[in-house]
Symmetry: none
Subunit: 253 residues, 2 copies
Amino acid sequence: MDRRFQEIPRERVADRIASELLRMISSGELAPGERLPGERQLADMMGVSRVSVRAALQQLKAQGFVTAVQGGGTRITAAADQLDSALARLVRSNRNNLHDLAEVRANLEVWAARRAAERATPEQLAEIERCFSIIMSPDRPSRAKAEDDLNFHLAIAKASNSAVFMHLMSILGDILEQMFAFHRYSLYASPADDRRFMEQHRAIWAAIQRGDGDAAEEAMREHLTTVLSRYEEEKEEEESQQAAPQPQAAARG
Amino acid sequence: MDRRFQEIPRERVADRIASELLRMISSGELAPGERLPGERQLADMMGVSRVSVRAALQQLKAQGFVTAVQGGGTRITAAADQLDSALARLVRSNRNNLHDLAEVRANLEVWAARRAAERATPEQLAEIERCFSIIMSPDRPSRAKAEDDLNFHLAIAKASNSAVFMHLMSILGDILEQMFAFHRYSLYASPADDRRFMEQHRAIWAAIQRGDGDAAEEAMREHLTTVLSRYEEEKEEEESQQAAPQPQAAARG
DNA sequence: GTTTCAAAGTGGTCATACCAAAAAACCACT
DNA sequence: AGTGGTTTTTTGGTATGACCACTTTGAAAC
């Protein structure tokens, strides 16, 4: 009962391993969806037995951080899987939600851009620059454009150094990707838009590179506003073709 | 290869054991505090290996249902006061994530304020006004302040008319509430702050009321910036004291 | 370029042994 | 009886090695 002599928390090996892995996850060192080394290799690297590694993984599995499939390896649970199929269902049930989701994501990305400008490590800056140079190179196949662009934004997201943000983004990102793929939205239509986007990307990168949080935030905001407006246009076109009622949004105006 | 007679997804032994034990616990067959049979005996009774029993117990331990102490046996944990969200665990594992989460939430709320100003229905406006009048009334018991304030923000969130946003907020809100309660953060400390918050709330409400999205966004941004800065101060204070007593719920359990 | 299929890799389970800590049994001695 | 110390037993924790079932992968065959 005497609190003065608190016992040493006899550190169990398995707990130690679990903590370490959890640290890697929460620090973003291990990204959602990423497959971590096999149990044998992990045990070897950490200098412990496979039993202990399994015990640690058992804990993390029970808490939903990782998902193991027999023969397939163990992966960091994509937050979307465990957190929110509900959100995906929500979006699928009402297309207006897709637009909301895109707006929400835009807001988060603006925040991430500022954080990246303020906190990115040299390595992360290098990665952003690499992605940037890719999307700025001319004559890249248009098929890869969307993916390259996504990588650029993803690099910035990682540079925000926020595990919370990364997990939220993985939720929103998965859903958005599904939805956009489903509806076959083709952004970046005109060459004019393309040039404009490139210019905006350059501004974002420049701001982050010189660590200017305000500028990064503003540049990202402008970029996403443009993107969203393009999406709006496509949406309106599509809706004019096939009538889609809009129940809510009783505008006052 | 006839899929019709495909076997049930091969239930893992450990999971089967865990389920059985959990059933006994939840049915009261195993009372809280009761010591359950040793791992060897358990394995023998169930006709499985001790490894599988241990894997099952590892899961239950990770979820807080049982507590094992070396040499002392494994006992049913009294009350499993566990909050279950992957994001919550993420935040609990690293306190820096809490701040990130608060910032993310702030960004979303700013967005919601604008939407509310632009799209709120008359009924929703009335609800916001009701909540507003409550938090503006003097001499309300300080115990209810936090809750009233939350209701005000919640009314605005609802007025954004976005299911996606509401869903995300419900996730973030739950976590933040639990985290703040756990760390015993007491915002709204000084009367000066209190007055300032009231003024900011008034500005937010005024902007929404007249349908001014820009002003609503700006007012909410300013408000949350203030709140976050207060949180920063408390965080620094606490960290300077360092000796945080940390009650029962610490991860080690 | 596909399809097929066997080898490699991975998680899941088992058996055995040993270690460390707690609990229980035992044994003095007062 | 009761107290304190010692020994023995029980219990959870870890290590090793082996095997199984499944997935992945890549080379062979088409």
